[in-house]
């Protein structure tokens, strides 16, 4: 899968798509591949204010529990309610319908700390075989 060039990425495998000070946040294809079948998602409430790099919620696969971190600081304006009954959308369409939350950014300067698609993909280069 290719990573959308307009998105920005974190080392913890979240993406954010920013337009006019609003952002949509999700998990990357790499993250969903590593976790396997996603069965449960816990997200903040609309109106919640979160700080960059602080936990935004939890995604569970059959095997693992994973915290999701906030790429930037923001206020939550919408939560993807479809994930409650269909968390597998994160597996099937991680960069699209599997989005987690829509947010209003607090501090646009924080975007500079995120990776672009090329840098993110480079960070995923597989470790050398022994």
């Amino acid at each position: 899968m290719t990573y959308p060039t307009t998105y920005r990425f974190t080392k913890d495998h979240e993406w954010i798509d920013i337009e006019d000070g609003l952002g949509t946040i999700g998990l990357t294809d790499y993250a969903q591949c590593q976790m396997g079948d996603i069965v449960f998602v816990e997200l903040p409430a609309v109106g919640a204010t979160l700080e960059a790099e602080k936990p935004l919620g939890t995604v569970e696969s059959v095997k693992t529990v994973n915290e999701i971190y906030s790429p930037v600081s923001y206020e939550v304006i919408e939560v993807n309610s479809e994930l409650k009954d269909a968390p597998e959308q994160i597996n099937s369409d991680p960069h699209g319908s599997g989005w987690l939350v829509k947010v209003r950014l607090k501090n646009l300067v924080e975007i500079a700390a995120l990776m672009d698609a090329a840098a993110y993909e480079a960070s995923l280069a597989p470790p050398k075989e022994a």
């Binding site: 993250a31 396997g36 569970e60 095997k63 915290e67 470790p127």
Partner: protein, 387 residues
């Protein structure tokens, strides 16, 4: 975020095969094992495939204990170091058992195979191999027999599911319909002579475990033959992830979870595999005392009522929010479509239908006590009794 393989891990002979299949490899007891195969659908698909699936479980250990036919020494040793009654085993029969500490808690659980009158094969866990081997050696001093660690001699494949019998039958002349649950035979398999074929497994399904020579060439050839023989039945390779969810549904214990060095036989609910009347064995005295003192905690099945998944190590709470126990293993159940768990709680909270709470990230989430096993297969095969 997700566990990955970094440190120097031990690799079983089929390691390269799993990598070619694109398996996600993880550390399990110091072994690099395939946890799932995303290319064939991943954990849930593998779990549901165990109509027939194949697991590489070569990381498990094997200890052979043998002596002269008439000496009685091997049987005496096995009786002393394990809790089930090995004297009830016919040659060609196996039993679930465990080695105990003097405290009545677990060194490990084992499958004891009686290969001959005075010849036993103990199949043990990967993470406890070295500990088990020294335990056996140390506690069998004084018995006149030989202990051999055969762990690295075998590639062990578990072929599991209702169609496993049809698959394995294509690879051997041995009549598998005559092989009861927990019986085994030595026979020609995939052109190899004298292969141990056992009707055992760790999935709650019918199935077989085969023990083949561990050199990578032979292992790879047999793997390929199994895959090709299984094609018509929809066989797929399955990882340790599906193995874990299957065994949990079937309420089979996992070392470090339902059994450990701090959990005793009664607490683990394994009394039917512990034969107090057979005579002296390590742990017996402590178990007698523990029985007289009464249980303080017992293993129960939980089904989540509220949303959320009870995970290993989460606390169990009562209505008032006080900690009363702990989750031993918890997971979504692919078969039931529910979130299930095995947990240790006081007997007073263990009644079927009782409500208890699991603390999930600071939230009190309701769960109900339900019968275990969560899933029981329809028994279709010749019913020789598990002893």
């Amino acid at each position: 975020m997700v566990d990955s393989v970094t440190a120097k891990l031990r690799q079983a002979p089929l390691n390269a095969v799993h990598r070619v299949l694109g398996a996600r490899m993880v550390d399990f007891g110091g072994w690099e094992v395939p946890v799932e195969y995303p290319s064939t659908g991943g954990l849930v698909a593998e779990h549901k495939a165990v109509r027939v699936g194949v697991f590489d479980v070569s990381h498990m250990g094997d200890i052979r204990i043998h002596a002269r036919r008439t000496s009685g020494a091997s049987l005496a040793a096995v009786q002393y170091i394990t809790m089930n009654d090995a004297s009830r085993l016919a040659i060609g029969q196996a039993q679930y058992s465990a080695m105990l500490y003097p405290e009545g808690t677990f060194v490990d659980d084992v499958i004891v195979h009686r290969l001959g009158e005075e010849d036993f094969l103990l199949v043990i866990n990967a993470g406890t191999r070295e500990k088990d081997n020294s335990w056996v050696s140390e506690h069998s001093k004084g018995f006149d027999f030989t202990v051999v660690d055969l762990s690295d001699s075998y590639t062990q494949l578990a072929i599991q599911g209702p169609r496993a019998v049809d698959l394995v039958q294509k690879l051997t002349y041995a009549n598998l319909n005559k092989l009861g649950n927990y019986w085994f035979t030595h026979s020609r398999l995939c052109g190899l002579k004298n292969i141990l074929i056992a009707r055992t497994g760790y999935t709650g399904e019918d199935g077989f475990e085969i023990y083949i020579p561990s050199d990578p060439k032979t292992s790879g050839d047999v793997w390929a033959m199994v895959m090709s023989a299984g094609h018509e039945f929809g066989l797929i390779p399955c990882g340790l992830g599906a193995r874990n969810t299957l065994r949990l549904e079937a309420r089979l214990s996992l070392y470090g979870h339902e059994i450990s060095n701090s959990i005793n036989v009664w607490e683990a609910g394994l009394e039917r595999f512990c034969k107090m009347e057979k005579g002296e064995f390590i742990g017996r005295a402590a178990l007698e005392k523990a029985k007289a003192a009464g249980l303080t905690r017992t293993l129960v099945g939980l089904e989540m009522i509220d949303r959320g998944i009870a995970r290993d190590g989460y606390r169990c709470l009562n209505e008032g929010g006080e900690a009363i126990g702990v989750v031993a293993s918890g997971s979504p159940s692919p078969t039931l479509g529910k979130n299930i768990a095995l947990a240790f709680v006081p007997p007073a909270n263990a009644a079927l239908g009782a409500t208890i709470y699991v603390e999930i990230r600071g939230q009190k989430s309701r769960a109900g006590v339900v019968p275990i096993p969560f899933y029981k297969r329809a028994r279709t095969i010749a019913p020789q009794i598990e002893s």
